[in-house]
């Protein structure tokens, strides 16, 4: 069939890409779709940067106050601010996937998408691409604000920052894909889970405190989170001036598992939705 000139010869309206197992054009089309949505609404763009900016301002002033009253914060002024900014990478990464998927549910567009040549694995790739763009738009302005207001640059973490950012956003994507799958399978009744899922992990991710503060029984769970190793690694640089490649490696290896589980879960929920006939009648 793929060699039939009637179907995609030079006179056909279609191209060979229409039949390709993976198409960057289809993924790009979905990124374009979310880009149009973002471009068409300035409140959405402002909202992306709003919360990271507010967080930096609030935690920045708190840090300044604590620095005057605590030797720990005198030693490592940027620990809290770095934690706030990196947490937002994780949070925005997850939300970028979940919210973009929810847009399809809210607009009742999934039926059209999945009767088009879009493959079920191309949608998650588009979702994580737009999540990356949204995270950059949201977090980068806040990092410059931290420099301007508090004379603290997260870029002082050096190349390790790239590793921290990558690990956190991948973990966010994995959770976002699982949540998108849950909403696909259980409908918009599960929407609130997509908003709050990441917060369930926050207390055991060691964002603002070392993991050894946690009760012993929960530490193995914390160790299974890529984010825990990222925040430990961040404190190691800022407090001890030591880069811990072992922590970065642990986070990366865990993320290989996480993102694989994320894609597998989305795929399984998608199949369940096809069996139950949910794709044509999902909505509010």
């Amino acid at each position: 069939m793929t060699g039939d000139p009637r179907i995609h010869g030079k006179d056909s309206i279609l191209t060979r890409a229409s039949f390709a197992p993976v198409s960057l054009r289809r993924i790009g089309a979905m990124v374009l779709r979310y880009g149009y949505l973002l471009r068409g609404s300035w409140p959405r763009i402002i909202e992306l940067a709003y919360w990271p900016t507010m967080q930096v301002i609030m935690w920045g002033f708190l840090t300044q106050f604590l620095a005057q009253n605590s030797s720990y914060f005198v030693q490592a002024f940027g620990v809290l601010l770095s934690a706030v900014l990196l947490w937002d990478v994780l949070f925005r990464g997850q939300l970028g996937v979940s919210i973009s998927f929810l847009e399809e549910m809210w607009s009742r567009n999934l039926g059209h998408l999945f009767v088009s040549p879009l493959r079920p694995y191309e949608l998650p790739i588009a979702l994580i691409t737009i999540s990356f763009i949204r995270t950059i738009i949201g977090v980068v302005p806040a990092t410059f604000l931290a420099i301007a207001f508090f004379d603290f640059s997260i870029y002082s973490l050096g190349f390790a920052l790239i590793g921290f950012f990558t690990n956190l956003i991948i973990m966010g994507w994995a959770i976002g894909l699982i949540m998108a799958g849950v909403v696909l399978r259980f409908g918009l009744g599960a929407e609130s889970l997509a908003w709050v899922a990441i917060f369930a992990l926050a207390p055991i991710s060691g964002i603002y405190y070392p993991l050894d503060v946690l009760p012993a029984w929960i530490q193995p769970v914390a160790q299974a989170l890529p984010a825990s190793h990222v925040f430990e690694g961040m404190r190691s640089i800022l407090v001890d001036n030591t880069y811990r490649s072992d922590l970065m490696l642990k986070a990366a290896l865990l993320n290989v598992v996480y993102i694989a589980v994320g894609f597998a879960a989305f795929s399984a929920f998608f199949r369940a939705a096809r069996i139950r006939g949910l794709l044509l009648n999902l909505g509010e």
Binding site: M1, T2, R6, I7, S12, I13, L14, T15, R16, A17, S18, F19, A20, P21, S23, R25, R26, G28, A29, M30, L32, R33, Y36, L37, G40, S41, E103, S107, R108, N109, G111, H112, L113, F114, V115, S116, P117, L118, R119, R271, R274, I275, R276, G277, L279, L280, N281
Partner: protein, 260 residues
């Protein structure tokens, strides 16, 4: 892009879909000849939407086989999806995107060779050129229907599945849509399968009618042949006979075929 008129564009064999304890369709078997316009009729709960969803590949059957344009839909649906399309008033396009943005996204999803040219062609043909920069959510029902039709024709589909293509349209716009679809079918030789509750629409548009009741095929034929067979004046009366279990085809599962 034309299919041979003698080939089946759709071939369904022993199709069954069970949702836990509910049997939505049962042992459905039928062919739709390429180049024809066929109606899938039945009352609420007859199995039309389930059948269309399976044909589109968004619903997996419990049993049975589906072949579309010569491909096994259950195993190789992505070989066929670029050559078919779908429109339904119950499945929306994103309302915050403009008409042009919506059509552009889908044009790329279908992998069109020349997106701008196709958008210009459809804009002109469906009289939506002046709407291109307007958000979809701001359009009237008739305008939305024309945009949905444009989306469904973007890839010049060989097979077009339409769910109530003129629902909620005024008679004038409804007739305009029917004329356009008839012209499209004539020009391209495409196959059209439509589900509709508008019997006069079916009489005017369709070469063939498949009647469903309680998930089974209960009768089939041309509109004229069915009207004659049931001794009625309109297809609507035939529909009521079948939906209420009266007339000649009143046993679920009793498949009869009216002479064509």
């Amino acid at each position: 892009m034309h299919e041979s008129a003698t080939r089946a564009a759709i071939s369904v064999e022993n199709l069954t879909k069970r949702y836990e304890k509910v049997l939505a369709i049962q042992s459905l078997t039928f062919d739709v000849a390429a180049g024809t316009t066929t109606a899938l009729l039945g009352g609420n709960g007859a199995g039309k939407t389930t059948t269309i969803a399976i044909l589109l590949g968004v619903l997996l059957p419990t049993e049975g086989r589906v072949s579309i344009l010569g491909e096994d839909m259950l195993r190789h649906r992505h070989r066929v999806l670029p050559r078919m399309n779908f429109s339904s008033p119950y499945v929306d396009l994103p309302r915050r995107l403009t008409v042009a943005e919506n059509l552009r996204v889908y044009a790329h999803l279908y992998g069109l060779r020349d997106v701008n040219r196709r958008l210009r062609e459809l804009g002109e043909a469906l009289d939506i050129a002046s709407l291109m920069k307007r958000p979809l959510g701001n359009l009237s029902s008739g305008q939305k229907t024309r945009v949905a039709l444009a989306k469904s024709l973007l890839n010049e589909p060989d097979l077009l599945l339409l769910d109530e293509p003129t629902a909620s349209l005024d008679p004038d716009t409804g007739e305009w849509v029917r004329d356009y679809l008839r012209d499209y079918q004539k020009k391209t030789g495409a196959t059209i399968l439509l589900a509709s509750h508008n019997m006069s629409e079916v009489e005017r548009m369709c070469d063939d009618v498949i009647m469903l009741r309680a998930g089974t095929l209960v009768d089939r034929g041309t509109p004229d042949a069915l009207i004659k067979k049931y001794g009625r004046k309109t297809l609507e009366e035939v529909f009521l006979d079948i939906a209420r279990g009266r007339g000649r085809a009143d046993e679920p599962g009793a498949v009869t075929t009216a002479a064509q």
